[in-house]
Each structure stands twice: as structure tokens, then as C-alpha cells.
């Protein structure tokens, strides 16, 4: 079985590093990007099996990036997991935009959840 390729877009590199051992243990390769723009380029190049996307980032937010990716013909089928600290309904704008984007994303994991929740979600989405 080929190694699963995962592009993880988050401006907090610590979090990606922290999950590295867990993902490698399961035979998943993490390609990290620290901004939405960088992430999109990386995804275009690498055509990953799965994308993990933060929402609140410096520069372009995850909302727009997810929309763009889902509109990309070659990428529409790549599952996107939102992994964010933004709970789903903070403030009017955040709530409505997040709700909209969540319907486009394939899964949502709050950053307050245990690491195992993210890992289980990714595992499910890769199947």
C-alpha cells in the first residue's frame, strides 16, 4: 500500500510537528504549508489524498481556500478536514461563513478535541 499523502495547511507549525509522529506511525506523509496561498500551490503540485485545513490564518483564510479547492476539477474529490479552533458559531459572520464552508468540507474537528479524534477522522476520510 502506497503511503497516503496529506497536505496540512496551518500557520501554526507546532501543531503539525506535534502530530507528525502519530501520522507517520500510521504510514501517512504530511506535507505542511503555513499559509492558504502556499497550501494551494502545494496541493496543485502534489495532488494529495487528503487535506487538513485551518480556518483562521494570516493572509487568506481557510474559507476561501476550501472554496477554491472544491471548485478545482482535479481536486474536488480530495477530502478536506477542517481542523480549527474556531467553534462553529462565534459571531455572525464567522458562523455563517463557517457553516457555508463546512458543507463543502468533508469533516470538521475542533482543536479542543483529543488528538485521537482528528486521527480517527482522517483515517475514516482516507478509506
Amino acid at each position: 500500500m502506497a503511503k497516503k499523502k496529506i497536505v496540512w495547511v496551518d500557520d501554526d507549525e507546532d501543531i503539525i510537528t506535534a502530530f507528525q509522529p502519530h501520522f507517520e506511525k500510521r504510514g501517512w506523509q504530511i506535507l505542511s504549508a503555513s499559509s492558504a496561498e502556499q497550501g494551494k500551490t502545494l496541493i496543485q503540485q502534489e495532488k494529495p489524498d487528503l487535506i487538513i485545513m485551518d480556518i483562521i490564518m494570516a493572509g487568506e483564510h481557510g474559507y476561501a481556500a476550501i472554496k477554491d479547492l472544491k471548485n478545482e476539477p482535479g481536486l474536488a474529490n480530495v477530502p478536506i478536514v477542517i481542523y480549527s479552533g474556531v467553534t462553529h458559531r462565534w459571531g455572525e459572520t464567522t458562523a455563517s461563513r463557517l457553516d457555508a464552508v463546512r458543507t463543502e468540507a468533508d469533516a470538521f474537528v475542533d482543536k479542543s478535541e483529543k488528538p485521537s479524534v482528528l486521527i480517527n477522522t482522517v483515517e475514516q476520510q482516507l478509506e
Partner: protein, 643 residues
């Protein structure tokens, strides 16, 4: 009561008042006019009768005086003493004609006729039976009065006189029925005076008089004196009549053909009152062919016997016409005044109702949100002005308050936004740090970064446990603040409760369950679906599953069961544990309450989980409760399927 518009109501009231006046005025007018015109007419007739009586009386006195003064003349006395009959005849006839007397006779002291001036050939008969003569002889004084004279006596005085008195009675409606068909006697004003000798002894009696039958002098004088020549529509307004008994013998009442209505008779009613009872009669009466205001009084002879009637009357028509015309004018005035009143009453009605209507409109405006709307406070009605001023004051206050509220709300919204932004930022930042720290700790704990000894393992284990608690606490507080701010809005989607909610939750706690060597039995039906908020249901599942594992016995069982109850889904989370007491049951779902037991002491908790759970389930139209079992507890909740 059916409500009417104010304007209409005021108008109706005013019209009602007007109507009362309008209806009462003609009654009043009718009464006043009747009193003034008709009753005055009646009173006038009564006065006229007095005048008529004076004229009649005057006529008697004139005749008496003529007789008296003639009796005093020397030639009479001298001629009697010298028995100069021819001189007497000549002189008396001259006097009779000069004084327009019908009769002028002289008798001796015993009443034997010496001279009959009108019929000189007849003399010598005795007239002592005549009442007047008797009085003159016995009292030696002049007397006068009205007398009935028999036909025989009239013939003695002259055939022409008897014929003047004779009348064929004309049948008269309303008259007293009678068998008589003609009047043969006459009625005369007669006077008698003694003729005294030089020694004062009675030497003769002079007597004479005027036959009233067909003699119109008195009645015409009455008419002339009282009514002048006033005519109404070609008819004499005033009339006078002398009755002999009940028969008109002298009158200026005219019949239809314009002739004097003699030989007709008085009505039975008047007959009874005047002739029978001897009383006056004052009333309206139908005279010959018209209605008159009339007055009748008896004519008496010198002995006081009622022998005829003196009558005056005013044609009623001028008065009734005047009455009618006055009444019509009066009605016209009332009508015009009524119309004016109706028109004018609309002004005060409008003056009252318009401000009220305006105020009504203003309250509607305010209720529609147009606060600060003002009404005109210069209406001309003081009370309404006060009301309007108060209303405007209220309106101003309302507007001020509304403005203040808007400002306050805006401030609040800004504050809230700032707060939410802060929470959003904090939660994002904290969660990120927590997530990476936890992932790192697990990497260490799981030996992914190299083997660690048991002591290190225990330390790391403590770290991960506390980090988990920290994360849970953080998310619970965030949830709590959302609940308290009323932000618990559901975003319902169709959710598989086993696949999407409880399985992830069991997986999240799989590590803890394994550590406590617990047996997890998931009996949830795979097809169990509800239209609910997945995120919130995850909070519920995490709370219930987390509690079940955290507070369950080591090596105990955790069992999940489900069933459908009508339109609701029921899920039961059971764990082997110490059954809760009734007192504990009550406190369980309260905010910040934690059970003070050995089990709970070991595990950290905020006392928020079950409170939040209960609130979320309530939002889903359901409820949650705990059922203590023999060896454990079951948390059971129901939510609406809504599918």
C-alpha cells in the same frame, strides 16, 4: 353596546336635543297662539256684548225720556183738562213721527185710551192690563222696558205694525224643535209716564214704544259702534242680533243670499243656557252659516222674565286664519332655526371629534413605531388641549427612550462584538496551543519519540489527562457562555446518531476505557437518525460517554441502548457504578454541581457537563433523566426525530 364613531355620536345627541325642541316648539306655539288669538277674541266678544247691552239700554232710556218729557209738556196736561182731543191727536202724531216711535198713546188716569196717534180712529179701550201702565199709574213715575206685545194689541196700533212683527219661522238646523210655524206677537221697547195735573194729581198716562221686529236700528248701531265697517272677505266681521224668544227678529247676520237672517232660530244649546236658565253664553257657535265667536245674554221684561236674547258675534274665520297664518310663520321660523341648528351643531361636533380622531390616529402612528408623533394641542377645547399636551409629552418621552435604547443597544452590540471577537481569538489561540501540546504529549506517552521508562510514562500520563481535562473545560465554558447568551441556535441536519455522534465519542474515549479495562457494549441501532445539530449532539455524547467511562467502575460495563418512542428517539447510556441517591439525583443537572463521592473526587470536573447536556437536549425538544439501577446508573434522554 354597539360603538359608533364619536362625531356621529355627538351629532346624534345634538340632533336629539334639537328634535326635542323642534317637537315641543309647535306645541308651545300652538298653545300660545291659541291663548292669544282665540281666547282674546272670545274675551273681546264678551266685552262687545257689554257694549251692545249699553246701546240697548240706551235705546230704552231714550224712549223713556221721550215719553217722560212729552208727558211733562203743558199742552198734554192742558189738552186733557180741556178735553181737546184733536190737538192731542195732532201734536202726539207729530211727536211720534219726530221721535221715530211706532206707538205713542195717551190714556186717562184709569188707562182708558184717549188718543192712539198711529191709529186715531180706535180709542176708548182700556190698557190698564199693561204692566208698564200699571206701574206708571201706581208709582206716578216713568217706567220703560222690553215687552212682548200680542198680535191683537199690535193690530190695534195698526195693521202694518202687526204685519211687520209677523214672521214665518224658517227651519233652522240645531234649533230647539218646535211645533210653532210662525211668529205673530212682537217685541217692543216701551215706556210709560204719568201725566200730572197742576195739583200733582194723575190725569193721564202717556205711553209709547218701538217695535223691535224688523227694526234694525239697534243691531246696526251695535255693529257700527263695536266693529265699525270692518269686513273680512266680503263679510261683516261683527254681528248683532235681537231675539224674541228664540227667533231672530232683528239682526245683521246675513243668510247665503245676503238678506238679513230674520225668522231663523237660536241653537238649542244656547236656548237652554240663556232662555231656560237665564244665564249668559260665551263660546263659539254656528250662526246661520258660519262659525262665530259669540256672546248671548237674556233680555228681560220689567218683571225680570226672560223674553228674548241679545247677541253679538265675531266671525271666527279671521281669527282662525290669523291663527293658522301665525302658526305657519312660527313653523317656518322653527324649521329654519332647526336647519340652522343642525348645520351649526356639526361645528361643535367636529370641534370635539376632530381632535379625538387626530389623537386616535396619533396613537396608531405611535403603535406603528412612529414615536415622537405630535397632535395639535390648540383645539379650542381646554380639556382636549390638556390631553393633547400630555399625549405629546408622552410621545416625546417615548421617542427619547427609544433613542436612548437604540444608543444603548448599539453600544451593547459593539461590546458584544468585541467580546465575541476576544473569545474567538482566545479560543482559537488556546486551542491551537492545547492541540499541539496534547499531540506532543501523546507522542511521548505512546513512545513514538523513543522509549520512556515507567516513571516517565506515569508523568506523561498525568500530563495528557490534565490536558484533556483542560481542553474539555475550555470547550464547556465556551458552550456555557453560548447557552447563557442565548446563542444556542440549532443547525439541524440529518444525523446518524450511531455513526456520526456516539461512535466518534466512544473512539475519543477508547483510550480511557481501555485503561480502566471497561467493557463497552454499543447496542445503538445503526439506522437511528434524527434531524439535529451534530456538533451539539457530539457535546451531549461526549458528556454522557465521558462521564460513564470516567465515573464507572474499573472492569465495569458501559452499555448504550436505543429505541424509538413515538416521534422521539430514546438513548440510554448505562455504566456499572454506585447508584445515585434521590438527593443526588436532584442536584445532578444543576450548574456547577458535582457529586461529592469517592468516584467523583478522583476525577476532575467542572460541574457543567450535565447542565449543558440538559440545555442542548431541551433545545431539541427532549429531556434527560437518570435512572439508578441495581449495579449502576442509566442516563436516558429523548429527542425529537423531526424527520
Amino acid at each position: 353596546m354597539k360603538s359608533k364613531k364619536l362625531n356621529r355620536k355627538i351629532l346624534i345627541s345634538l340632533f336629539g336635543i334639537i328634535a326635542i325642541f323642534v317637537l315641543s316648539m309647535p306645541v308651545l306655539g300652538f298653545y300660545v297662539i291659541k291663548k292669544n288669538i282665540i281666547e282674546r277674541a272670545q274675551a273681546k266678544v264678551k266685552n262687545d256684548l257689554n257694549t251692545a247691552r249699553l246701546i240697548y239700554q240706551d235705546e230704552i232710556e231714550i224712549i223713556r225720556d221721550v215719553i217722560r218729557f212729552t208727558a211733562l209738556r203743558f199742552f198734554v196736561r192742558d189738552a186733557i183738562s180741556s178735553n181737546d182731543i184733536d190737538t192731542l191727536k195732532k201734536q202726539l202724531e207729530e211727536i211720534r213721527k219726530a221721535e221715530s216711535l211706532d206707538v205713542l198713546n195717551l190714556t186717562d188716569e184709569n188707562g182708558k185710551v184717549l188718543v192712539r196717534s198711529r191709529n186715531p180712529l180706535l180709542y176708548g179701550d182700556n190698557q190698564a192690563h199693561d204692566e208698564l201702565l200699571r206701574h206708571a199709574i201706581s208709582d206716578k213715575k216713568a217706567v220703560a222696558g222690553t215687552m212682548i206685545v200680542s198680535r191683537d194689541e199690535l193690530i190695534k196700533e195698526g195693521q202694518d205694525l202687526a204685519e211687520r212683527a209677523f214672521m214665518k219661522l224658517i227651519p233652522t238646523p240645531k234649533a230647539k224643535p218646535t211645533s210653532e210655524t210662525e211668529l205673530t206677537t212682537g217685541m217692543m221697547i216701551k215706556a210709560a209716564a204719568p201725566v200730572l195735573g197742576y195739583d200733582g194729581s194723575l190725569v193721564g198716562v202717556l205711553y209709547g214704544g218701538t217695535l223691535l221686529n224688523r227694526n234694525y236700528e239697534i243691531v246696526d248701531r251695535v255693529k257700527q259702534t263695536v266693529y265699525q265697517k270692518i269686513k273680512y272677505k266680503g263679510r261683516d266681521i261683527g254681528t248683532a242680533t235681537i231675539f224674541q224668544g228664540d227667533v231672530r227678529i232683528s239682526t245683521n247676520v246675513r243668510t247665503e243670499d245676503g238678506s238679513r237672517a230674520i225668522a231663523t232660530r237660536v241653537s238649542e244649546e244656547v236656548y237652554e243656557q240663556v232662555l231656560t236658565k237665564g244665564l249668559d253664553w260665551v263660546d263659539r257657535a254656528f250662526v246661520v252659516s258660519d262659525w262665530y265667536k259669540t256672546a248671548y245674554e237674556p233680555i228681560r221684561d220689567i218683571n225680570g222674565r226672560t223674553i228674548g236674547i241679545l247677541y253679538v258675534g265675531i266671525l271666527e274665520k279671521p281669527f282662525t286664519d290669523m291663527e293658522r297664518n301665525t302658526f305657519l310663520v312660527f313653523l317656518m321660523i322653527v324649521l329654519i332655526a332647526t336647519l340652522l341648528a343642525c348645520v351649526l351643531s356639526a361645528i361643535p361636533a367636529g370641534a370635539i371629534s376632530r381632535p379625538v380622531t387626530n389623537m386616535l390616529q396619533a396613537t396608531r402612528k405611535i403603535s406603528e413605531g412612529n414615536l415622537g408623533y405630535k397632535v395639535d394641542a390648540q383645539t379650542g377645547i381646554e380639556e382636549l388641549n390638556i390631553l393633547a399636551a400630555s399625549f405629546n409629552e408622552m410621545s416625546t418621552r417615548l421617542d427619547e427612550r427609544e433613542q436612548n435604547l437604540k444608543v444603548a443597544n448599539k453600544k451593547l452590540a459593539e461590546l458584544n462584538k468585541t467580546y465575541l471577537d476576544l473569545v474567538s481569538f482566545v479560543s482559537h489561540e488556546l486551542k491551537g496551543i492545547l492541540a499541539s501540546t496534547t499531540a506532543n504529549a501523546y507522542s511521548l506517552q505512546d513512545g513514538l519519540l523513543g522509549t520512556i521508562n515507567d516513571e516517565q510514562k506515569r508523568a506523561i500520563h498525568s500530563i495528557t489527562r490534565n490536558l484533556g481535562y483542560l481542553a474539555g473545560t475550555l470547550s464547556r465554558f465556551l458552550n456555557l457562555s453560548r447557552i447563557e447568551k442565548g446563542e444556542l441556535e440549532l443547525h439541524r441536519t440529518e444525523v446518524s446518531l450511531r455513526e456520526d455522534v456516539f461512535n466518534p465519542s466512544l473512539e475519543a474515549f477508547a483510550r480511557e476505557a481501555a485503561e480502566k479495562q471497561m467493557e463497552i457494549v454499543n447496542n445503538l441501532q445503526p439506522q437511528l437518525k434524527a434531524k439535529c445539530d451534530k456538533d451539539f449532539m457530539l457535546v451531549v455524547a461526549n458528556n454522557l460517554v465521558g462521564n460513564a467511562i470516567l465515573y464507572g467502575f474499573n472492569k465495569g460495563k458501559v452499555v448504550l441502548n436505543s429505541k424509538e418512542v413515538g416521534e422521539k428517539i430514546q438513548i440510554e447510556v448505562y455504566n456499572d457504578s454506585r447508584p445515585v441517591t434521590p438527593q443526588e439525583k436532584e442536584r445532578l443537572f444543576k450548574k456547577f454541581s458535582r457529586l461529592d463521592t469517592a468516584e467523583t473526587k478522583q476525577a476532575k470536573g467542572t460541574g457543567l457537563g450535565l447542565f449543558i447536556t440538559k440545555e442542548i437536549i431541551a433545545k431539541h425538544g427532549g429531556e434527560i433523566w437518570i435512572e439508578p439501577k441495581e449495579q449502576g446508573n442509566s442516563f436516558i434522554f429523548q429527542i425529537e426525530k423531526d424527520i
